[in-house]
Symmetry: C2
Subunit: 138 residues, 2 copies
DNA sequence: ATTCTAATTTGTAATGATTACAGATTACTA
DNA sequence: TAGTAATCTGTAATCATTACAAATTAGAAT
């Protein structure tokens, strides 16, 4: 989903379109690295020097409610935002914290089998696999 | 794993065995409801009125390092502790926050297929399915 | 185009779970 | 039984996030 489509969706849901929102949406939705609110804030500060953290948090909440991003919470108490809302596996290095997404038809169908075995219809999911990545193994 | 076995493991790893540790281990390992540090603290306070939150946190960290519990972090920034360290699915209600564990040979093998498809050997995993539970659907 | 108004933005202050710290206590060793 | 390093405890600090209120602004109505 590109920014233009996000704007349309904002309007459709009765939300105002502001320069800050556009900037935040672009920054989050184009970033595949599961950024934190602070990373988004810093990236946007270059173009919007007066932007505040509060606005970033508000907009991320909005995107969360619109189901355009998912939150991923970690033990360091910093929330990361994932613009990949399809069924996928977050492969997370225990040492350096780097996250890689894995997405495939196979993963999708295995997960479907798991949820149907449990007899539930999830409204969302989070699949983490914790590893020590190649860089950290050395 | 029962408390006696935990004591043995503590000794084997060179950690001292204290009444507080025994109480905390018993409370966490016997609780299937993914308690918070505060819940553990309150439960133990009855028998150990002078216990401190710091001790609870220290002991939970120890159990985490010994791989006897897993942390589950949520967006309200409160950490929950899961004494089920096998491969299982946390079915979490989006409204009331209740967590139910689902564990089976089938889940285990489906997950194994997923990780082998990705070509990784995880040191751990977290599988969440988000639902609206029957009580909250009403 | 201008006005109006509710939504949004912003800066500051509050929150609260967790961690750091240092002194008192205690489990275990010899 | 004494010695010592680990553990426990209470208090203070941390810091990501949220609450709040005043200033600004997008979009609707005129």
């Amino acid at each position: 989903m590109n920014t233009e489509q996000v704007i349309t969706m904002l309007r459709k849901n009765g939300h105002k379109v502001t320069p800050q929102r556009i900037a935040i949406c672009e920054a989050v939705l184009s970033n595949k690295e599961h950024p934190t609110a602070e990373i988004i804030f810093k990236k946007i500060s270059k173009q919007h020097p007066t932007i505040s953290m509060t606005t970033v948090y508000h907009t991320l909440d909005l995107l969360k409610k619109l189901e355009l991003v998912h939150e991923i919470n970690f033990d360091n108490r910093v929330t990361r935002y994932d613009s990949n809302v399809s069924v996928h596996v977050n492969v997370i290095c225990q040492k350096c914290g780097k996250i890689s997404d894995y997405e495939s038809e196979a993963i999708q169908s295995q997960w479907n089998r798991i949820v149907s075995a449990i007899k539930i219809k999830p409204v969302g999911q989070r699949l983490d696999a914790y590893v020590i990545c190649e860089d950290c193994k050395g």
